[in-house]
């Protein structure tokens, strides 16, 4: 039985249907890659799945429950890493991670946090203010967030490897593999190199409807 089940999903932004009729379902250990050219709607898809944007049509079910009706269980299981890293630059690396762990009701012990930092290769920089990190290091700290706070469930990663150099990408891929081995589900969007073995591909561009399909009878409505 699939854990995450998406049916007939459509998204409208800025008065335009980005994609419509998207169906897919994922079971424990599965992964999916959202593909499509710039502006196709990959980020929008992840934000809809996370619950930041309400879907235009369609449903998202987690363990059979509609996530908009029963958000608590879904939110406890889901971790989203967006374009923005979400760092407070005046706090140290570990203070940032500490806050996230507290917010997501995970263990805030120094050990647990340092383990997550080690997984992304930041353990040596734990006590530096985040403002001193380079772009790639910041991205890795953002990726330490799901690692530190997630017992299992769903990761939504928007361009996780942007700004990363090769060795860091390998580290992140290893963390994802470990997470999937523990039953986790991963959905990532990417233009940059990222290898997810056996990943289902969601072609967001293909789901862009032709104007008639997109708007249909609701042409006038959809333009509003």
């Amino acid at each position: 039985m699939p854990i995450l089940d998406v049916q007939d999903l459509a998204c409208r932004r800025g008065g335009r249907i980005l994609f419509a009729g998207l169906d897919f379902s994922l079971s424990e250990g599965d992964a999916a890659l959202a593909l499509g050219r710039n502006g196709a709607g990959k980020s929008s898809l992840l934000r809809v799945l996370a619950g930041l944007i309400p879907p235009f049509t369609g449903s998202i079910r987690w363990n059979g429950e509609d996530v908009r009706r029963e958000p608590y269980e879904f939110r406890s299981a889901m971790r989203y890493v967006g374009h923005a890293d979400g760092l407070q630059t005046n706090l140290t690396v570990i203070q940032n991670l500490h806050y996230w762990a507290a917010l997501y009701r995970a263990s805030t012990s120094r050990d647990a946090l340092e383990q997550a930092l080690a997984a992304v290769g930041l353990d040596e920089l734990a006590d530096l203010p985040a403002r001193m990190l380079s772009a790639g290091q910041r991205r890795r700290l953002a990726l330490a967030r799901p690692i530190a706070t997630q017992p299992g469930g769903l990761w939504l990663l928007d361009e996780p490897t942007v700004a990363l150099d090769r060795p860091s990408i390998v580290k992140i891929e290893a963390a994802i593999t470990a997470f999937r081995a523990g039953g986790g589900i991963v959905i990532a969007s990417t233009n940059a190199p990222l290898t997810l073995p056996n990943a289902q591909e969601i072609d967001v561009a293909a789901a862009i409807p032709s104007p008639e399909d997109a708007f249909g009878d609701a042409f006038e409505d959809a333009l509003l």
Partner: protein, 252 residues
């Protein structure tokens, strides 16, 4: 590879932090001695062995705390502006450090002048505060110190903060003559009579002597605090730079 050290010269050799640290370490005990000695003498003469004013009684003794504080407040701002200028034009690293170190000291002296002035105002004028041109301009000076401190703290990037603060200090100098002439522009209701009466050569030498001793004491205290804070700031920057280098060197 040529050394990245820009061309030397006396000032630049002084500006070498290591040399500065040595020099200041040598200077420090002397300054502390002068401070303690002058404060002891000044306070003895000022608070005990000087005549009381026939009008103000003992409250006149506030003068020995108040007037040097006001002088030092203005001197601190000059230091701030000069170090800002040197830091911007010649990019002297130590000038920037000096500015950063001076500002809080200047703010404290200015506050002291305001505070003692207010305490003095209560018995002499019957009010803690009047919107007299001189009082107002000192209050503005206080806010200018705060502005300098605030802009130094407002940036993540230290060097940027230093440049902005230096520029602010220079722009602020424009206001010093304005403050001076505001007395003429702004016809004040409360011209403090006691100030003009006591000022200048008309002052009793028995009061002038402790006042001057106290002024020297304040100046030496300023020196001690400045050197201390500069050393502190240098150390802080070194720590920051080493941290930065570590962040840059950390390879995945």
């Amino acid at each position: 590879m040529a050394s990245p050290n820009p061309s030397g010269g006396f000032w630049h050799r002084l500006a070498n932090p290591a040399r500065f640290q040595r020099l200041s370490a040598w200077l420090m005990p002397w300054l502390v001695l002068i401070t303690l000695g002058c404060f002891g003498a000044g306070l003895y003469y000022g608070l005990y062995a000087s005549p009381i004013d026939y009008q103000q009684k003992d409250t006149v003794r506030i003068m020995y705390v108040h007037v040097p504080a006001a002088w030092l407040a203005m001197m601190s701002y000059s230091t701030l502006a000069i170090s800002g200028f040197v830091a911007l034009v010649w990019r002297h690293p130590l000038a920037d450090v000096a500015g950063a170190a001076t500002a809080p000291i200047g703010a404290v002296f200015t506050f002291l002048a305001l505070f003692t002035g207010a305490i003095w105002g209560q018995p002499t004028w019957g009010t803690w505060w009047v919107w007299d041109a001189r009082l107002t301009s000192v209050l503005i000076l206080f806010f200018m110190f705060l502005g300098y401190i605030a802009i130094r703290n407002a940036f993540d990037d230290q060097a940027r903060a230093g440049r902005a603060a230096s520029l602010l200090a220079i722009v602020g100098v424009v206001i010093l003559p304005i403050i001076k002439f505001s007395v003429d522009w702004w016809n004040t209701l409360h011209q403090p009579a006691s100030v003009s009466k006591l000022s200048g050569s008309s002052m009793d030498p028995a009061m002038l002597r402790p006042l001057l001793i106290m002024a020297v004491a304040y100046m030496a205290l300023f020196g001690v605090l400045l050197l201390l804070r500069m050393r502190l700031e240098l150390t802080r920057r070194r720590v920051e730079a080493l941290q930065m280098a570590r962040a840059g060197a950390a390879t995945p």
